[in-house]
Every structure is written in C-alpha cells, then in structure tokens.
Symmetry: C2
Subunit: 336 residues, 2 copies
C-alpha cells in the first residue's frame, strides 16, 4: 500500500493536520516544516489524492459525454474524436448512455450537477421533451456543448452536420435514379436534426414536382418491435414505395432484414439510402449508399470548443452553430 498522510505524520512526529497544511502550502506552517514534509513525502513515495486538488482549484479534469446509445457507429466515432482531444488536454472522460430515455437523461444530468465534471458534450435523447435540466446544469457552472442531436432552445455551442442539405441530396439522388414514390423513415419527431432531414426530403420532392404523401412518412422510435411492424406494413401489399430514405442506419438495416424475408430485391424493386457511419456499408448485400457524417471530426470539434472555453474561464458559452458537411457515397443499394 502507498504512504498516506498518517504515515507521513507518524514518521515526522507531527500531526496529520500539520502535514496536510504543509502539503497545501498553507501560510500557517513555517518554511522549514514544509521542506521536511516534502522531503519525507518524496522519500515514502506519497502521492496526493487527486480529489484534494479538485477541491482547491475546482477542476475535476474530467468531462462527460452523454449519448443516446453506444451501439451506433456515429456515437462511437464521435466519442473517439473527443477522446483524442481530451487526452491532449490531460482530461478524463466519463461516458453515459441515456438509452433514448428522457428520465434517465435527467437523472444523469442531476448527477453531473455538483462538480464531478468541468463540462459536458451531449446528444439529446429522442424522447426528451423539455430542457429545464440542461439550463439547471449550465446555471450550476457546468457548460454543455451539443452535438448531432442538439437543442436549439439552449444558448451554447452546437455542432451538427448539414442535415437539411444532406436530406435534400439523399432524396434527389433517389429521384435521379428513377424513384418517384419515396418513403422517409424518421427516428423521432422531437429531434431537430430529424426534422431538418425531413425538410430536405420535402424540398427535393418539391423541386421535382413530386407530390408529398404523408402516409410515406414513417415515424419510428425507440421500440424496435414497433419499428419492424411499421416497416413490414410499408413493404407489404400491392403498392410499396420504390425508394427509402432512412434517417439513421438501424432503420436501414431493418429495411434490409424485412426485404430479405419478403424477397424484395434491393435495388431492383426498391432503392435504399441512409444516414450511416457503418464500417461494413460497402460489404453489405447489396452495398449500402450512405450519407456519412464526419463523426470523428464532429467529436473532436465539440471537445476543442469545450476545452477552449474551459481554459478561458468565461462564465457563459456563446451561442454558436457549427456545421460540418456530410458526404454522399454512392453504392449498389441505389443503382439504376
């Protein structure tokens, strides 16, 4: 076991309180005593408890990253990007997942309220319907930076991709490859990014004079069984769509599974495009056309803004919208 304050005090024949004050460079202790304590600390290999330091300078040297789920390549890559910057700054990273659950998100934020972290990078849950908990955290002096699933209502830095333009691009790509009846698979009506992707989809339909059919907007959610049911319904019967635009990769994978079971061939019968950071997109059967977000860069950028802010000790993060463009990668799932 390593030496502690008691060991030092015993060896020096002085009180624990004096040792502690000496190590804290207190004015109450003379220079000679301080030097004796430091020499003994070095001799015994004493290292101070890191949390003692936190109490003095109010820095935990820790940030939290709060994401809806870990089984999503986008979030893993964003976390990896943020981790690179955190390590450069000698910071530690706490990871929390909300499982897209509003109550769990509130509970996590409450736990971060009292100084455990210096700042938070967060992507909100798809079921989050009010933002009081974020405001409370910021008022407690803990800055939040939103990435991907942002919250417009909070004045802070927000990092997203060009969701509207990417939604337009994805839909236009399907139209140019012959689709006229395109369904949009939405993740959540609560999410700003989802709405922007959908608006881009509407805009592309408008440009090519394709009438918007509200029954082709499929509102999916957290309940995977319900999602399967809705997608099965969409892909059964005599009039199925000729194109699918999925707002997240797990919905595109569900379309693949349903098409496999129902023997609907992609891309001959139906073309599929999805927002996705799937590493195996090019190895799927057929390979999946994707809108890929620069997730790693988004994570890095979010962390950079946070550390810049922490180094300046400003009280409030300025409102700021940072957008990093996504990339369309055309593969076989949308082939003419």
């Amino acid at each position: 076991m390593k030496a502690n304050l008691k060991d030092l005090a015993k060896d020096l024949g002085i009180s624990v309180s004096t040792v502690s004050k000496a190590l804290r460079d207190s004015y109450e202790i003379g220079e000679k005593t301080k030097q004796r304590v430091l020499a003994k600390a070095a001799e015994l290999g004493y290292t101070p408890n890191p949390y003692a330091g936190f109490l003095r300078n109010n820095k935990s040297k820790t940030i939290a990253i709060v994401v809806p789920e870990l089984t999503n390549n986008y979030f893993i890559q964003a976390i990896s990007g943020a981790e690179e910057i955190a390590q450069e700054n000698n910071y530690h990273i706490l990871i929390y997942t909300t499982n897209d659950n509003f109550e769990k998100e509130k509970s996590i934020i409450k736990h971060l309220m009292n100084g455990r972290v210096d700042g938070v990078l967060l992507s909100i849950s798809s079921t989050t319907s009010s933002y009081m908990h974020f405001n409370e955290l910021i008022q407690n002096g803990v800055p939040i930076i939103f990435f991907d699933r942002i919250c417009h209502e909070i004045e802070t830095a927000k990092i997203t991709t060009n969701d509207f333009a990417s939604g337009f691009l994805a839909t236009e790509h399907l139209i140019k490859n012959g689709c006229r009846d395109i369904a949009y698979l939405s993740l959540s009506e609560h999410l700003s990014i989802d709405n922007k992707r959908k608006q881009g989809y509407f805009e592309a339909l408008n440009k090519y004079d394709i009438k918007i059919d509200e029954t082709r907007i499929i509102n999916c959610g957290v309940d995977e069984k319900m999602n399967t049911k809705k997608i099965k319904k969409l892909l059964s019967g005599s009039k199925i769509p000729d194109g699918i635009f999925a707002s997240v990769e797990r919905l595109a994978l569900k379309v693949y599974h349903v098409c496999n079971s129902a023997k609907i061939s992609i891309p001959q019968k139906i073309k599929v495009i999805s927002f996705s950071n799937l590493r195996t997109a090019d190895l799927l059967n057929p390979s999946l056309t994707t809108i890929t977000q620069p997730a790693y860069e988004i994570g890095k950028e979010a962390a950079k803004i946070l550390f810049k802010h922490l180094s300046k000790r400003k009280s409030v993060l300025l409102n700021e919208n940072i957008i990093i463009d996504s990339v369309l990668t055309i593969r076989n799932s949308t082939k003419k």
Copy 2:
C-alpha cells in the same frame, strides 16, 4: 450559480472553515452551530462538492474501463454490459482506449494510481509485453479485473470465453465443410486468447490428420497496411488456402475486401469464419459465419465481480477464471 461555502459563511456571519467543519460533522463545532449551518445550506440549495465526500470515505464511486479500441463491437457490447451494472450500483464509468499501444496503457494505469477510481476492468493491449504496471496499481489498492484479453501472470479475477474450444469448433466446422488447407489469422502472439484460439485450430487439424503448415499462420498486428499486405499475399498466387479462420472481425472484413478486389468468391473458392460481434454479419455479402462471444454478459459479469469485491472491502481479489461460452452461428460464408 449555486451557493458555495463562502455564501453560507457570509450569510451566517461565521468563517468558511467553521461552515466546512460543521458540514463535516466535526467534533470541534457545537450542535447549535451545526444546525444553523445545515438549515442555511438547505435554504440556499447548497450541495457539497462530491470530491469532498471522496476524501472522507475514500470512494470515488467511479470505475474505469480500459480497452484496446472502441471500433470493435465486442468491446462496445462489453462496456454496455458493465455500464448496466455500474448504474445499478450508482457508479460512474471512465472510459480509456489504449489503441493497442503498450506505452499508452502504462500511462493510463499511472493516471488511475491515485484514487480517481475504485477499480478497473481491463482488456490488455496486443503489444503489452510486461505487467509491472498492473501489479503496481493493485499494490496501490485499486483492484483490476481482466476480461477477454487477460493477463495470466496477475493474481485476480479473469473473464474470457472458451477460446480453445471455440478455436477447435471453428476449424472443425471448416474441415467438415470440405476445407483441407486452412489459414489462421492471428491478432498478436502476445495475447493469451489468441494463442488459445490457435491451439484449438491446431488440435482440430490434428484430429482430422491434416498436417500443420506454419506458412498458413498469418501474424497480423496493429498496422492495418501491413495486415492488408499479408492477407493479399496469402490470397494471391496459384495455391491459396480453401479456408480462413480469423481471430478477430476486422481481419475477416479485410479478407472480404481483398477477395472482392481479387474476385475470389466466398464460399465457392474460399470459406471464411471469424470471431465476431458484428451486428451486420447476417447482411454481409455473403453473410458471415461467426463465433460470437457473449460480450454483453462478459461485461456484466466482470462488473458484478468488481462491485461484489468493493462491497466487501477485502484487500486482494482472489485468483479466479470465469469462462462464458461462445456460440457458433453458421451462415453462407462457409457453405459447402
């Protein structure tokens, strides 16, 4: 901003030190003062700094999970499993990746030495060649539990899958489906799990009287370009193997890429099986036959053992080997 000690002291007209001692229930402070301080703290909504608590009871209520990489579905699922148990125990999780780098692993362990965490779950880097840093951490009172990539040399709890039996099963499956010239793609000669998988491969070859050919053992590593080069070499020329057993999924994906480029058809020309927790294994072209580890359960089990130990405040974790079996899922990549 929330109330701090200074605010309390100012409002009560007493010193910060007195407030602090009162909140710590110090014998130096009278009951009446303590009650006044507590009442004022409640009135102003004061919450104590969590790190102050850590100093008193020497519990950070935090554990660290150290893994080689995040872009590996096995580790993500294991982390998710551990997170579930941590939340049940009201613990926080710090995440660190070593990028399979020995120096980085040592540096992370050093950072965890001084009380930041109560315990560590760890899967060692594939380049780790000595274990002093683990012993030092344990001697500092921080227990380590190994999972997947374990270290036999350290006396503690270790959780793995049945690597030998699974290696045997994977190889036997290839042999039963007609393979006679099977290559083994190794991740690292340093890793115990890799050696056990390889021993299982040898044993299956022995059982079916197939001569071991050392040139069919491909020692891959951290350098992705070098891995590609080695796999390309293996799959070129007139005599390529008729079966591949990959010890990790990223090597199997590399085989898919090389086969695609070289127009080598799987499974007609070559059959492929891999240890993998890939969510899209069934959607690949062709779908990938896998040995799937119960990663989520392994993460849960590792966390459970750690929390059980922490609750008992025993000084040393007993040596213990826990094995949770993997599952063979047969798909098209090994079809006869």
